[in-house]
Amino acid sequence: MAAINFGYTISRPRAIDLDRNNLRKSDEILREMPELQTCIGCGSCTAVCTAGNLTEFNFRKVHTLVRRGEYQGAYEEMNKCMLCGKCRLVCPRGINTRGVVLLIKRKLGDF
């Protein structure tokens, strides 16, 4: 049908909709690396991040979004990681952060 243009569109919701998001990939990632679930959001990884000092890259935010089933752009974001490993040194929960980067890239190459 020929839609009328009223000069605006119906804004799309920004909410993370856990009823609509498909958590299959997220579950797979957590099954391979259950320690990722222990992230307490302290921000140490982002604070020391070499890539984050130069770009908008935020490791904590990207892996949290992935855990919520928001995969769009995660692969490209993780590509910004230089795998320097400083985040792994500071993580108070001992998460293999570099492993998380590689795992997410492996699992979400399609997204």
Partner: protein
């Protein structure tokens, strides 16, 4: 049916007679029949005294909420309305608009909390008009008054909110409007989370309210969100969200408390249909949106065209048929004294114009 056991914790004093009527800007333009119906119901059906004073003005709430009218100005306007009420010998203020009601409530609360602002308003009013004012003995929204008389109206009912074909109660979505009780929960019947003002009417008149996930969500008017064309996408997105959430409950109609909500929930159905092809309601002809006066008027046996229901975007005829309301289809667009008032172009959400073939507009 919903267990709204908390509503009785929020009671307010509603005057029983002698009201000073404050009209609504939006309703005088979009639902003029509703304000007329309120006056007629109170005076003729319930035998109450109400003054419809031509001297009073807009409360300037739309300007206030769009950052055009400053606080001091709106306080002075409110002070003037009270002065007019005092001069006419009334002390029960009843506002026909949720935003106005919110403004009056907010101004009275601000004056109580910051007495210097009240002094300033008194000074401004006196300088500008030579008037002085006393605060109202009671402040109510028009729906509070209809709620107050819901049982008297039920006793006089000619029809009930019941499907005459099945005998089942009509399923009603009630929408309250943010400024009714979200700012001051104690100012509304039932508070802000489980308001009972409309639900009480629906239940008293034989209908059944449905609760749905986005019941508390705003209609999206949001003043600035609507008034600037580029922002309307935010505005319509809210009504869209509500309609998506309530449609699975198959309501027979929506009743709205607030002039803006009634307008947007009704008219956005047309816009959504034209923009995206999504339609709601039976056969995709939209879900009728009523004001509480229209609902009360139908219950009391008023003629739907006298109530102004031809002004709706979504046609109300399917609802009238369900309720067993007798009406003259040919008289729909005849105004006062039988004068033709013009007719809207046909659209997907209008089911009655004969020049539309439904569902195949593509």
């Amino acid at each position: 049916m919903m267990k709204r056991n908390s509503w009785q914790d929020y009671q307010k004093q509603i005057a029983d007679d002698r009201y000073y009527y404050g009209r609504s800007c939006i309703r005088q333009n979009f639902f003029p029949g509703s304000e007329k119906a309120f006056i007629d119901i109170l005076r003729n059906d319930l035998g109450r005294d109400l003054l419809d004073d031509p001297m009073h003005s807009s409360c300037t709430g739309i300007g206030y909420h769009s950052d055009i009218v400053p606080l001091e100005t709106i306080m002075t306007v409110v002070a003037r309305q009270f002065a007019l009420m005092n001069e006419a010998g009334y002390e029960n203020f009843v506002s026909s608009c949720i935003t106005s009601f919110g403004v009056y409530t907010e101004v009275l609360a601000t004056w109580a909390e910051f007495p210097e602002t009240e002094e300033k308003a008194r000074e401004n009013l006196f300088k500008a008009t030579g008037r002085e004012f006393r605060k109202p003995a009671s402040l109510a929204h028009t729906s509070d008054v209809v709620f107050h008389f819901r049982n008297e109206i039920a006793a006089r009912a000619k029809r009930r909110l019941v499907n005459v074909a099945t005998g089942e109660p009509l399923r009603v979505v009630e929408h309250i409007g943010c400024h009714y009780a979200k700012i001051f929960p104690k100012s509304g019947i039932g508070g802000s989370e489980f308001p009972y003002v409309l639900a009480g009417m629906v239940e008293a008149w034989g209908g059944e309210c449905v609760d749905y996930p986005e019941r508390r969500h705003c209609c999206g008017f949001g003043f600035r969100n609507y008034l600037v064309q580029a922002n309307r996408g935010y505005s319509i997105a809210n009504s869209h969200k509500k309609l998506e959430s309530l449609a699975p409950y198959k309501p027979d109609f929506i009743v709205a408390n607030c002039p803006g909500c009634a307008m947007f929930l009704d008219k956005w159905q047309y816009t959504i249909a034209e923009m995206e092809g999504t339609t709601y309601g039976e056969n995709g002809h939209g879900i009728p949106v009523l004001t509480y006066e229209e609902m009360a008027g139908l219950v009391l046996g008023y003629d739907p065209w006298a109530l102004g229901m031809q002004m709706h975007q979504v046609d109300v005829e399917p609802l009238l048929d369900k309720m067993g309301v007798e009406y003259d289809p040919a008289a729909k667009y005849l105004g006062r004294n039988g004068k033709y008032i013009g007719k809207p172009a046909s659209a997907v959400v209008n089911c009655c114009p004969t020049d539309t073939v439904y569902g195949i507009r593509e």
